[in-house]
């Protein structure tokens, strides 16, 4: 019971240090304030305890004092707001380049898919020193992806939208992964671990895994088999938008708004195509809810993403990469 006793969690990501500094500052503030209040309470309790020869002095209040003890905490807390908001902005802003993992939560397990297609359950291997971007989605209720050593946490929602979180691990090791949003009976067993490895070891580990299907190749096959290609191919008569060169850029919608063409938008367009329609197109596309698995959606996204920098329309017919099996 005592061998692992500690009062402070391990810090193993690039953002952990910043959060710990804010934490220590706030502990300092709290200690100072509590010590101040307690000293005053003790001092007054002794100094002004009832004596037969001394009457309490009636004091109405003091405007300068009220201003001082309102303004100082207010200034301090607005400063803390600014500090934490700046830090939050850093944590919240996902780097543009990184390895994208798809993480699906379901009662009560975590399913993880590597950028190169390998899959794991409840364990997630990542290389040290690389930006890892997680696209999170739930198959049922709300879960929450929490790695204390990285100081990151993000709710994982059911539905068409991904939530996103990222980290860059700084230390090799195995770290706890917890579900932090109560999700039913075995909530406390929806746990796992993140294994941080040296990049070379990570590569070796990947090579040792059963060869995963390359998501881009698999997505290209699906794009063909699900007949996405009939509408979304440049040469198809253009009932749907040509998808090359679109990913990661703003796209206009039929109602005049503009959205970022990202993972969530692709996922939503597959599951609920009529919700946010591309400008200039009719709502002809059927929903694929129930016809594609989360894994297949991830593969389709990977394929659409691979078209981001190509100006050449995807060709129909056999995908020349073939599948990895």
């Amino acid at each position: 019971m005592f061998e692992d006793f500690t009062l402070f969690p391990e810090a193993a990501s690039t953002v952990a240090g910043g959060i710990d500094r804010l934490y220590f500052f706030l502990i300092g503030m709290t200690t100072f304030a509590v010590a101040g209040i307690l000293s005053a309470l003790i001092l007054f309790s002794i100094r002004y305890r009832r004596r037969p020869d001394r009457a309490a002095q009636q004091i109405d209040g003091s405007v300068p004092l009220e201003i001082i003890w309102s303004a100082i905490p207010l200034a301090l807390w607005v400063f803390i707001f600014g500090w934490s908001a700046k830090l939050y902005l850093e944590i919240h802003t996902t780097p543009s380049e990184g390895m994208t993992y798809f993480v699906t939560g379901k009662q009560w397990m975590w399913k993880i898919q590597h950028p190169t297609g390998q899959r794991e359950i409840n364990t997630m291997h990542v290389p040290r020193g690389e930006v890892v971007i997680l696209k999170l989605v739930s198959e049922d209720v709300i879960h929450d992806f929490f790695v204390p050593a990285f100081r990151i946490k993000q709710d994982v929602l059911p539905g068409t939208q991904y939530t996103t979180i990222w980290f860059e691990a700084t230390k090799v090791g195995t770290y706890d992964l917890f579900c932090a949003e109560y999700c039913g009976t075995k909530h406390s067993e929806m746990i796992g671990s993140v294994v941080v490895m040296d990049p070379a070891d990570y590569q070796a580990w990947l090579d040792g895994q059963p060869a995963g299907q390359d998501p881009v190749d698999a997505g290209r096959v699906l794009f063909e088999n699900l007949r996405c290609v009939t509408c979304h191919d440049a040469g198809s008569g253009q009932r749907g938008p040509d998808l090359s060169g679109r990913f990661g850029r703003p796209t206009s919608l039929s109602d005049g708004r503009t959205v970022l063409f990202d993972e969530s938008y692709v996922r939503e367009s597959i599951l609920e195509p009529k919700r946010r329609l591309s400008a200039g197109y009719q709502p002809l596309m059927p929903t694929y809810t129930g016809q594609v698995t989360d894994t297949q959606i991830n593969q389709l996204i990977a394929y659409v993403k691979s078209l981001a920098n190509s100006d050449v329309a995807p060709k129909g017919g056999d995908a020349d990469g073939g599948n990895g099996q």
Partner: protein, 542 residues
């Protein structure tokens, strides 16, 4: 207060306790004092049930494995603990017991504005409580007291609808109490009792009533929507049906964050009464303390989004909620500073109520400042949904609210029953509660930062030492809570009889007999002085 002397003369007259006997005289009473006692008995029952669940939770958490209960049972225990403590104890506690009893007395009224509505509010509360108890005996509910959708609306296999119905019903009792207090405070103040002469307890309950009336309908609507989705499969919160789970959280916290202030504001009111009496002084900065209650009531409605920093809500909404949460902390800080300053050059004695008041200041300060940790978005990412949050709100709710409730109960007990409890035992209990509380909940701050998520039945072995400390503290705390139940009941029969004003306190409630007459005042008093007029008493003493 010229009427006081006349009223002393008639001590042989029957009081509210002897005005009628038999079950009917209690169950059909419209006397605000008797209704307060009906609430006291039912609230104590629910507090004991909620407390028993807490004991079982702490016992399970003594070891990392799930060896005492199955996960289903454990989840139901923490859910029922939360539901009973929040909706059936903390929300009604001080308003329904001390507020019902003392608000009319403090403003020189013979009853509340709507006595029959007041009785109805107790019946509504009792009905809601019975439905929830029935849900418990039927097998309980396992959603957490927060009922997050779509778990509650689609996936949970427990008695969600029944438990939600109990909460829905009991919400109306909050609304009725709120309406009653607002009307009473506006319309029934004695002549000369201007707003700026009101005791701060009245101000606090008035501010609380505003929140009850404005906020409670929102939780009723929210619960209804969960029931509609669960029963009729209309897509409201569940994305599988086309709903939005974040909408639930917005609606839920739109009530449930202001509800935190429903729970703490009346405690702050009690604090002002106790501190003034036992320092023999007018409250330092009376006006700003009164206004800070209103500021809390208003700002409290604008900070709900700080429960949702990691929910996927917009980052910009997060910024606004974080900044507003920093602002709402200011009026609370002002109160703490003013109570402390009231002690300066006072003439302080340390009877049991004052011990609770001192405990409140210390624990509420820690509770409030750890709220700043959670309002700071970046830090909240790490500590959200961990034991840090559990520790924080127990410091405010138990360290603040329950300490104030017990302090108020000890302060007003001689007035309510005309007898005094055993002061020695009461002091022992107050110290036990203070020590037990800190031992229970301080380790949970450390557990939270270490990363232990809340609502975990089974946990990592690294967390065990702190959990053992917490459970040890809970056993001291539990004994501390059991003691007052024993010696207070004992005092009803065997306690030393006291006069009308055993604390030599200022305020209209202390000018009438203990226990009060059936209709409080023979003549409605005329008020000519500020609240907390201790100067004359001190001049007379020295």
């Amino acid at each position: 207060m010229t009427a006081a002397s006349k009223q002393h003369a008639s001590t042989k007259e029957s009081n509210y306790l002897t005005a009628g006997y038999g079950v009917r005289s209690w169950l059909l009473t419209v006397d605000h004092k008797r209704i307060a006692l009906l609430y006291l008995i039912s609230l104590t029952t629910f507090f004991s049930v909620g407390g028993l669940f807490a004991v079982l939770i702490r016992l399970e958490l003594l070891t990392p494995q799930g060896d005492l209960f199955q996960s289903e049972t454990y989840n139901k225990l923490f859910t029922m603990h939360g539901i009973f403590m929040v909706f059936f104890f903390l929300v009604p506690s001080i308003p329904a017991v001390l507020g019902n009893f003392f608000l009319p007395l403090m403003i020189g009224a013979r009853d509340v504005a709507f006595p029959k509505l007041n009785l109805l509010s107790w019946y509504v509360y009792a009905a809601g409580g019975l439905v929830t108890l029935f849900a418990m005996f039927a097998g309980g509910v396992d959603t957490g007291w927060t009922f997050y959708a779509p778990y509650s609306s689609t996936y949970a296999n427990s008695h969600v609808i029944l438990a939600a119905l109990g909460i829905f019903i009991t919400g109306f009792s909050s609304i009725l109490t709120g309406v009653n207090f607002i009307a009473t405070t506006h319309r029934m103040r004695a002549p000369g009792l201007t707003w700026m002469r009101l005791p701060l307890f009245v101000w606090a309950n008035y501010a609380t009533s505003l929140i009850m009336v404005l906020g409670t309908p929102v939780i009723a609507v929210t619960i209804l929507l969960v029931a509609i989705e669960r029963l009729l499969h209309v897509g409201i919160f569940d994305p599988a049906l086309g709903g939005d789970p974040i909408l639930f959280q917005h609606l839920f916290w739109f009530y449930s964050h202001p509800a935190v202030y429903i729970m703490i504001l009346p405690g702050m009111g009690v604090m002002s009464e106790i501190v003034a009496c036992f320092t023999r002084k007018r409250i330092f900065g009376y006006k700003i303390v009164a206004m800070s209650s209103l500021a809390i009531a208003i700002l409290g409605f604008l900070v709900w989004g700080h429960h949702m920093f990691v929910s996927g809500q917009s980052m910009y909404a997060g910024f606004v909620f974080s900044l507003l949460s920093m602002l709402v902390a200011v009026p609370s800080a002002i109160k703490v500073f003013n109570w402390t300053a009231t002690m300066y050059r006072g003439s302080i004695t340390f009877a049991t109520p004052m011990l609770y008041a001192l405990g409140f200041i210390g624990l509420f300060t820690i509770g409030g400042l750890t709220g700043i940790f959670l309002a700071a978005m970046a830090l909240d990412i790490h500590v959200h949904d961990t034991y840090f949050v559990v520790a924080h709100f127990h410091y405010v709710m138990v360290g603040g609210m329950v300490m104030a409730y017990l302090g108020g109960l000890h302060f007003y007990w001689p007035k309510m029953f005309g007898r005094m409890y055993h002061e020695g035992l009461a002091k022992v209990a107050a110290v036990m509660i203070f020590i037990g509380f800190n031992l229970t909940f301080f380790p949970q701050f450390l557990l939270g930062y270490l990363g232990m998520p809340r609502r975990y039945h089974v946990y990592d072995e690294d967390f065990q030492v702190l959990n053992v400390l917490s459970t040890a503290g809970a056993s001291v705390l539990g004994l501390g809570f059991a003691l007052p139940i024993c010696y207070l009941i004992f005092s009803l029969k065997f306690g030393k009889k006291v006069g009308d004003n055993p604390w030599d306190a200022a305020g209209l409630e202390w000018t009438i007999s203990s226990p009060p007459y059936e209709h409080n005042f023979h003549e409605i008093p005329e008020v000519t002085e500020e609240a907390y007029d201790y100067g004359k008493r001190e001049a007379a003493r020295v």
